[in-house]
């Protein structure tokens, strides 16, 4: 023990670091901050360090070349001892990091920690969030599989919409005219050197400010932040009711960090690594690419924007969101900190959370996409075929053969792009059905050119049978008057009688 102390002394005489480190560790923090609510920042840092370590380990094997990357991932998964586990740690680590950074941000927002004098800490934090998301996207590209390939195409398509500079930005992003070797190389450089370098620098700044300005005290309703008095009040608080950060508050950070690391490891061991999915071969088109979970909400939003809104929303939306985040501490730098007195802040968080969750959930089963194999893979349920005429069954055949089932569900099977047709006959009359099939509209292609008159007749005859047992199909009352008919007559269907 004496020897260790002597060696320590020898180093410290030269480094002179012990005193400043002790000072930082023992700086007084308000007792109220030794809370389980204050552990997310340090947890994010610990997961970031895990990402650095596992990332370096992966780089020992990974080959950042479009022709070799996929194979090197396979060998990590199958050949290298525990390569699969390191990949899984890194993949799950990224999931946890995005989640923890977001939770940390919500906590800081609800506790009013972004207010004076911690505006810059928040601004740096916003950049840290953007970099974390940047790491998530570039990391997904490095898992160079089909999803990565088409995800890059998606990114390029969005980037290309920037006015005037769009095409140049696309080439800069891809490193060439197409998604290929140069693209992967530059995303590797971004993921491994550029963004982590900036992250380390910004994390350092972020931490420096946390230590220099002190951790945000637990907000008390009614205790308003005023620029003139805040620093004095905070100083007094830490003097009167403070405790050294180490060990008074740090033990909760330590416990939570260890718990999170354990959770990452458990997920990694149980669920294993992500992919890679199919080879990044652009000629294999039987694929439905999807982003990783943190970008699923965006994927869903993109399917709901009307065409005219899309480019403005994609280009202006992020500017507004990032701008609002950056301006927040300057627009609301003083006043009430407690969430109990900031209902709009709480509602904003709830609204954003519900929105993200809803869109993410929707992206899980993509109701806006045709189900590509429903026409050949999902048979029409038998009850729709029993006791039907030959014409109606012929119509059912048309329904399958013309891929109607890809977009329209029967008994919950099939695509959800268009409305389910289980009771379509109740909603649309015969004439309306014919019109809808032939002219399309309301986001349905027109089938006028793809269906012969006899096919249309058969299809509509089948559709007219789709109504619940006790309910009669919709009928056009004026028809009976005009044609002197007293009942619906399916054989009267003639597409050529359409105006």
């Amino acid at each position: 023990m004496r020897l260790i102390a002597q060696i320590g002394e020898w180093f410290d005489r030269r480094l002179q670091l012990a005193a400043p480190i002790r000072e930082v560790a023992e700086h007084p923090v308000p007792r109220s901050t030794a809370s389980w609510w204050y552990v997310f920042g340090s947890a994010a840092l610990v997961v970031f360090m895990l990402q650095l370590v596992t990332g370096i380990m992966l780089a020992l094997i990974y080959v950042p070349s479009a022709s070799e990357a996929w194979n090197s991932l396979q060998s990590l998964n199958h050949d290298v001892t525990l390569g699969w586990f390191i990949r899984a740690l890194h993949g799950w680590g990224s999931n946890f990091m995005v989640a923890i950074v977001l939770i940390h941000m919500v906590q800081v927002f609800l506790f009013g920690a972004f207010k004076f004098p911690r505006e810059l800490t928040w601004v740096v934090g916003v950049f840290l969030l953007l970099m974390t998301l940047g790491m998530a996207f570039t990391g997904q590209v490095l898992r160079f599989d089909q999803d990565a390939y088409w995800g890059l195409g998606l990114g390029a398509s969005i980037a290309s919409r920037v006015p005037l500079l769009g095409p140049a930005i696309v080439k800069l992003m891809l490193g060439g005219p197409i998604i290929a070797g140069a693209t992967l190389s530059r995303f590797f450089a971004l993921h491994v050197f550029v963004i982590p370098g900036m992250l380390i620098g910004f994390v350092g700044l972020h931490l420096l400010m946390v230590i220099k300005l002190g951790i945000n005290e637990w907000p008390m309703p009614g205790r308003l932040v005023k620029k003139a008095t805040y620093e004095h009040d905070y100083h007094e608080l830490t003097q009167k009711d403070g405790a050294p950060f180490v060990p008074y508050a740090v033990w909760k950070d330590l416990f939570f960090a260890a718990f999170i690391l354990l959770a990452v490891a458990a997920c990694a061991a149980y669920f294993g690594p992500y992919g890679p999915s199919g080879q990044p071969d652009p000629t294999i088109i039987q694929t439905a690419p999807k982003p990783d979970y943190f970008f699923l909400w965006l994927y869903a939003v993109l399917s709901f924007l009307p065409p005219s809104m899309e480019t403005p929303a994609l280009l202006i939306g992020p500017v507004i969101v990032i701008g609002a985040l950056l301006l927040l501490p300057f627009l609301s730098g003083e006043g009430e900190k407690s969430w109990r007195r900031r209902p709009i802040a709480v509602l904003t968080i709830l609204l954003v959370a519900v929105m993200l969750a809803t869109f993410t959930h929707l992206a899980g089963y993509t109701p806006w996409s045709p189900q590509m194999n429903a026409w050949s893979g999902e048979p029409i349920p038998p009850r729709f075929l029993q006791h039907r005429t030959a014409l109606e069954r012929q119509g059912a055949l048309v329904f399958q053969a013309k891929q109607c089932h890809n977009c329209h569900a029967l008994e919950g099977k099939g695509g959800q792009r268009g409305p389910a047709l289980d009771s379509v006959a109740v909603q649309l009359t015969q004439d309306q059905l014919i019109r809808q099939v032939i002219q399309g509209g309301g986001n349905m292609p027109s089938y006028g050119k793809n269906l012969s008159p006899s096919e249309t007749t058969a299809l509509v005859a089948f559709l007219k049978t789709l109504h619940p047992a006790g309910q009669s199909p919709a009928r056009d009352a004026s028809r009976a008057v005009a044609f002197g008919e007293n009942r619906e007559n399916p054989s009267a269907v003639r597409p050529s009688s359409q105006p």
């Binding site: 919409r161 800069l172 891809l174 652009p282 000629t283 993109l302 009307p306 399309g440």
Partner: protein, 180 residues
């Protein structure tokens, strides 16, 4: 010690040193920036866009739409499979063709052709196109991208080499782009 009006020898040297470094940095920045922007500035010069054969005319039956693949004209040694590209070739009649990019005009996902209903459908966000490539439904703002084609010596060739993106066809000084 220097006052407002006098400059000391050391002070002058320091300023000259800063200026010197600034000049060197500017000079070095030129190649650095040119390197970084090379993928943009090289443009269409070095075989970015070329005529590529998709096969003989007879490989594509009249009235049908078939998948064809080609190797990108501009390749680098590490491109591997990614330099292979697919496209949809529709032979209307005789020498009349339409060659569509595989990329959806919405966000570039690979569209699939359904001959039974004569529709292209996109698996990502549900864009659909008619057989002539025009927009049928869904989020795309426009029809499928068309490659320019020519028939020579019984071969169908297209002019390709760039990833078609929705912005490119709308932007840049009204210049007509090959894949628009």
């Amino acid at each position: 010690m220097s006052t407002d009006n006098t400059i000391s020898r050391r002070g002058l040297f320091m300023k000259m040193g800063i200026l010197f470094n600034g000049l060197v940095a500017t000079a070095l920045a030129v190649p650095v920036v040119r390197f970084l922007l090379s993928s943009v500035t090289r443009g269409r010069a070095n075989g970015y866009l070329s005529w590529i054969s998709l096969g003989t005319v007879n490989q594509f039956p009249e009235g049908e739409t078939r998948l064809a693949t080609f190797r990108n004209p501009y390749v680098t040694p590490t491109d591997g499979k990614t330099a292979d590209t697919a496209c949809w070739v529709r032979r209307i009649a005789g020498d009349q063709f339409q060659v569509f990019a595989i990329n959806c005009a919405h966000l570039g996902c690979p569209v699939r052709w359904f001959p039974q209903s004569s529709l292209f459908m996109c698996p990502c966000h549900g864009g659909a196109y008619y057989q002539d490539g025009s927009r049928a439904s869904g989020p795309p703002e426009r029809g499928l991208f068309l490659y320019p084609y020519k028939i020579q010596d019984g071969l169908v060739s297209i002019q390709a080499g760039e990833l078609p993106t929705p912005g490119a066809s709308a932007a840049l000084l009204g210049k007509k782009l090959p894949c628009a």
